[in-house]
């Protein structure tokens, strides 16, 4: 798997298939990047479950916070990692244990060995990308801000539907 660049169809396939996302490192502070991403993904119909041992007992955007992936009481399709790269191996072990189908690491987060471990367990991996930006890019919304989506199409439909 080439983790330098991803096919649009690979990313779109993930975003179309997952419903429930556990966000590891979700922050209750409204002006933190993870909060932006969680709010955006909720608005696109994803259920986002925050995981953060330091915020247990709180709710973020209406969802109670869990201390670890093993404590999340519902099936998780995708784990979104808002942690430093060195925390990834532990998160991947937890993701395998709960049967997650995708591990997605945020911009700046990358751990190749942990990615290989996840892929060996049948998990799809995305590294150093943001699901908000990728959803926006493939739905056309990122272009509203003047960004190059890299997408050329003569079709009316988009790869993911906003």
């Amino acid at each position: 798997m080439d983790h330098e660049r991803y096919d649009d169809d690979y990313i779109a396939g993930i975003l179309r298939s997952v419903k429930t996302i556990a966000m590891v490192g979700a922050s209750p502070n409204w002006n933190r990047p993870s909060f932006f991403v969680m709010k955006y993904l909720q608005g696109k119909g994803f259920r986002v479950i925050p995981v953060n041992p330091r915020a247990v007992g709180e709710t973020i955007l209406g969802e109670p916070v869990y201390p670890d992936l093993g404590s999340v009481p519902v099936p998780v399709d995708m784990v979104d990692v808002f942690r430093a790269s060195d925390a990834v191996p532990g998160i991947v072990e937890e993701a395998i244990a709960i049967g997650a189908k995708v591990v997605w690491m945020q911009l700046g987060v990358r751990h190749d060995a942990a990615a290989r471990r996840a892929e060996a367990a049948g998990i799809k991996v995305v590294m150093n990308r943001c699901p908000k930006i990728e959803f926006g890019r493939l739905s056309g919304e990122l272009s509203w801000g003047g960004f190059d989506s890299g997408i050329i199409t003569s079709r009316r439909g988009r790869k993911v539907q906003a």
């Binding site: 955006y40 919304e141 509203w144 801000g145 003047g146 960004f147 190059d148 050329i152």
Partner: protein, 432 residues
């Protein structure tokens, strides 16, 4: 993440940013002639004002037609994103607004469009920003002039009006060493002829009024961000790295990563400076940009022939066109402008100021006006017009001395262009 583009330049010129409208299927980009956009509810409005979601609020900040053009120019330049604005001067203002604080300094080539020399030297001084102009011909001049307060280097890839080609790779190395971004005005070259991001530029600005639009019918500007500069590392770009009070303490670079400068350009630059691009102008510029490659090919082919004609003309004392072997910039042009040295250049007419004026006034095909990058051939005498506000020394330094005539060669039949200059030069003999 500046991946190599999947599609070629000409394909992107036609299609980038311009997928069919998802709602109506409209194939051309619609002109969204609206000032504002309805919110779904109060929470949606809050998300938009907090910059938490993508969407439109008010056309001073963003507009769908302008956004299509922004994406197109970003794609053509190989940038991450772009901020469209009212003019090239507005684009320069947006770039420096994000980088500079009162008391800061920057370096700029002294070989610049006269309007930029005025903007940097006089108007920017009112914001407490100090420019140091240096001779671009020796890149080491930038190293010598560097001060601890310098926040950027600004150059034109192909300088107006003098046919000067800038050594972008050497200057970007000096900028990188100093930990500051290189801003390149790529207006005269266009991304078809020159790709400054490949040579280490961090920000590109355009007057889209010129070749990108190409038909002399719409004002516009563009600030394009490569997305590669680390705004947080040095702590010297607080507008991008520190909590922004206008957005409740949000840090632009931390929150938006490589999108930060473009978000800043819209959410602060356009919001507070107000120089938005009109949707109709964006539409006309989108249409013009579709033929950029075709037009530039003809522009440079015609310019090459006209320059060669002038060089052999007895009434002409010199021609400054980097496409000529006689030009000191010929080698730099081969490196940075391999498809041609643009179509704007200057020549000296024998007889000085009066002869220069006479040539300009005698043309019947060339239009005497203060623009360039039009399908039409244009002519101007900089000393009596665009560079009039400068001192004699500044005019000479900028390549706009008394005998200088500037041409912007159009895409008419080249024989007609040559014939018009020939008869005008003949008439100038009487004035000499």
């Amino acid at each position: 993440m500046s991946d190599k583009p999947k599609y070629g330049f000409e394909t992107r010129s036609v299609h980038a940013g311009a997928a069919p409208d998802p709602t109506t299927g409209a194939r051309a980009v619609p002109i969204y002639q609206t000032t504002a956009y309805v919110f779904d509810d109060a929470d949606h409005a809050a998300s938009l004002f907090n910059l938490q979601t993508y969407g439109y609020i008010y056309s001073r900040l963003t507009n769908p037609t302008v956004a299509a053009l922004e994406e197109r120019v970003a794609s053509l330049e190989g940038g991450r994103g772009a901020t469209g604005c009212a003019s090239g001067h507005a684009a320069q203002m947006l770039a420096f607004f994000a980088l500079m604080e009162p008391g800061d300094e920057f370096l700029a080539a002294r070989q610049l469009y006269g309007g930029s020399i005025n903007q940097f030297g006089r108007t920017f001084a009112k914001f407490g920003w100090t420019v140091h102009f240096v001779d671009v011909d020796d890149p080491e001049n930038f190293r010598r002039a560097m001060t601890p307060k310098c926040k950027a280097i600004f150059v034109e890839s192909l300088a107006n009006p003098g046919g000067v080609v800038t050594d972008l790779e050497a200057i970007s190395a000096i900028a990188r060493e100093a930990g500051i971004p290189l801003i390149v005005d790529n207006t005269l070259a266009t991304p078809y002829l020159c790709q400054p991001f490949r040579w280490g530029a961090d920000i590109i600005v355009h007057s889209t009024t010129k070749f990108l639009s190409g038909h002399g019918n719409s004002m516009g500007g563009m600030m394009v961000d490569s997305g590669r500069f680390d705004w947080t590392k040095s702590g010297r770009y607080p507008s991008l790295s520190e909590p922004e009070p206008a957005y409740h303490g949000l840090r632009f670079h931390e929150t938006f990563g490589d999108l930060a400068l473009t978000v800043h350009g819209h959410a602060l630059g356009l919001r507070d400076l107000g120089a938005a691009m009109a949707p109709l102008n964006a539409f006309l510029t989108l249409t013009g940009s579709e033929t950029l490659a075709l037009r530039m090919e003809r522009h440079v082919a015609n310019a090459q022939k006209v320059a060669a004609f002038l060089e052999a003309h007895p009434r002409v004392s010199w021609v400054s066109y980097a496409g000529l072997k006689s030009s000191p910039y010929h080698a730099l042009a081969a490196k940075y402008l391999p498809r041609g040295a643009g179509s704007v250049f200057t020549f000296g007419v024998k007889g000085g100021y009066d002869a220069g004026v006479k040539v300009v006034e005698s043309c019947e095909l060339f239009s005497h006006l203060a623009n360039l990058g039009d399908t039409r051939s244009l002519i101007i005498h900089p000393a009596s017009t665009t560079h009039r506000q400068l001192s004699n020394e500044q005019r000479t330094a900028a390549g706009a001395g008394a005998d200088v005539v500037r041409l912007s060669i159009g895409i008419e039949s080249v024989d007609d262009i040559v014939a018009d200059l020939d008869q005008a030069l003949a008439k100038s003999a009487a004035a000499a």
